[in-house]
């Protein structure tokens, strides 16, 4: 059970870490200063969540690895984040499309994890769920404004969303281990969350005068370490210092 829990915590922590890292790329480059501050706030929340989930993962593993060791000294195939969060930022519409889908998912997930049978998970979720409710609302606001803004922004939002639809199954993917944790009341049953998330997504898309297309062929594998080409590049950048300087102190 400990290894299952460890794997599950990696999934939770890696999602937040990788998306936080992506959002860091926006810092100093957003459409306005106000939007820059908003994106930084999202990233700070996500990095905080990653620190908590990965810290707990290290404790559960009890092999002497802390959150930093897990974040900076694993290779791409050992990461358990979903494919969606590792996708490049693209333009602001694509970033907001990705944020909207991920935060809507994460909100439903954390909401459920607030009553996890694992006290530590419940505690982290209770803190994070408030952050993520804001992320989901903020991203929804932008989906609506860009989707129903100008012809250009609408085109970009449609394209941004189109980039994401192929990763939905991956987002909700569960293996037997996670199902066992869900049966024990520790993890959330993602299959049960999916209609909820879908309903919310459709509601916001309607407000944005957009519609949800039929899903294309689904790409999966993030939860088992089979990632897109983007992750190892992201990690090469993120991990360069600790990897290049063993024994250093930061």
């Amino acid at each position: 059970m400990n290894d299952l829990l460890f794997q599950y915590l990696l999934r939770l922590g890696d999602d937040s870490l990788i998306l936080g890292q992506r959002l860091c790329e926006w810092c100093g480059h957003a459409p306005t200063i106000e939007v820059d501050l908003s994106l930084s706030n999202l990233a700070l929340d996500l990095i905080g969540q990653a620190t908590l989930f990965l810290g707990y993962a290290g404790e559960v593993e009890s092999g002497g690895r802390d959150a930093d060791a897990l974040a900076f000294h694993r290779d791409a195939e050992d990461f358990r984040n979903c494919l969606l969060v590792e996708q490049p930022n693209g333009d602001f519409a694509r970033t907001m499309a990705r944020q909207f889908l991920f935060s809507s998912y994460q909100l439903a997930l954390l909401d459920r994890l607030c009553s996890s049978a694992d006290g530590r998970i419940a505690e982290i979720a209770a803190k994070a769920v408030k952050e993520v409710r804001y992320h989901a609302d903020l991203a929804a606001d932008w989906v609506v404004r860009l989707g129903d803004g100008t012809a250009e922004s609408r085109g970009r939002m449609i394209e941004g969303l189109d980039d994401c639809w192929r990763f939905l199954d991956d987002l909700f993917a569960m293996d037997d281990g996670e199902r066992a944790l869900a049966a024990a009341g520790i993890a959330a049953d993602k299959a049960a969350l999916r209609p909820l998330v879908q309903g919310r997504v459709e509601q916001v898309l309607r407000q944005a005068t957009l519609s949800m297309p039929g899903l294309p062929w689904q790409v999966t594998g993030g939860r088992t370490g089979r990632h897109s080409e983007h992750l190892s590049r992201l990690l090469a950048e993120m991990q360069v210092l600790p990897r290049a300087h063993p024994g250093a102190r930061w």
Partner: protein, 332 residues
Amino acid sequence: MYTTELDKTAGSAAAPAAVEDPALLAAFEARVANDEFIEPKDWMPEAYRRTLTRQISQHAHSEIVGMLPEGNWLTRAPSLKRKAILLAKIQDEGGHGLYLYCAAETLGTSREQMIEALHAGKAKYSTIFNYPTLNWADIGAIGWLVDGAAIMNQVPLQRTSYGPYARAMVRVCKEESFHQRQGYDLLLEMMKGTPEQRAMVQDAMNRWWWPSLMMFGPPDDNSPNSAQSIRWRIKRETNDELRQKFVDATVPQAELLGITVPDPDLQWNEERGHYDFGAIDWNEFYAVVRGEGPVARERMKARRAAWDEGAWVREAAAAWEARQAARRAAAA
């Protein structure tokens, strides 16, 4: 970050002095001399408005451009804690830019005009941000030296004569208080690490020391606007006074870190009660002011790209709201 008197031509010497009503002018000077605050709708001489707009907008530009050199290492921060600290720190600088643009706007220039002036190369920003960040210790050096110098400049401005500027500076100074500490803390930690890390810290010091001293602006004898700015309380201490204060405060901190200040002429002067220090390369300073700093082009390119690529976002949100407003009006 603060910037001081970079753009001489726009100052009092070149621009023709507007003919101001002597009675109003005298009343204004008396209020300022009396340490009263001037507020946006109060009468003020054109030269005051112009000088302040230039100074506050330069200050705002510096905050925003200053996000770039540190942002360069954000995605490579070596621990989760350092990543969060650095992001929060850079975010603060963005906030400072925002407060300052808002303060400058109360003088009648829009944010867009100010940003366009920056992008057209007509407005200046602090020379320090035209230097590259080459290793992780640069992030510590920026916090310690650059923010340290900025704080020294900014603290007196909390009592500057223009109300919105003073209030923005109060907020800025409150937020700045962790910036210098996190930088010094970062360097302390690296000095406890490997020999390579200690070499990185020294290397960062070697590259950032002189540009930091230049941040206080040209020497007083070559700073023609100083007297008027000090009379108007737009500036409260001279460039050289602040620079000396900075050197005096920083040298012992360098010793505590265990690194060398890259100045063979640096020496404690018992008689003056201050450190004497070597000559600053003012040719380099003026070259960087002219926009010839090592990465000036990259900085401006990045700012222009962010602004230009954000245009469709700003337009889309405005268009959406215009439609909502029309709908609300029709329903009313």
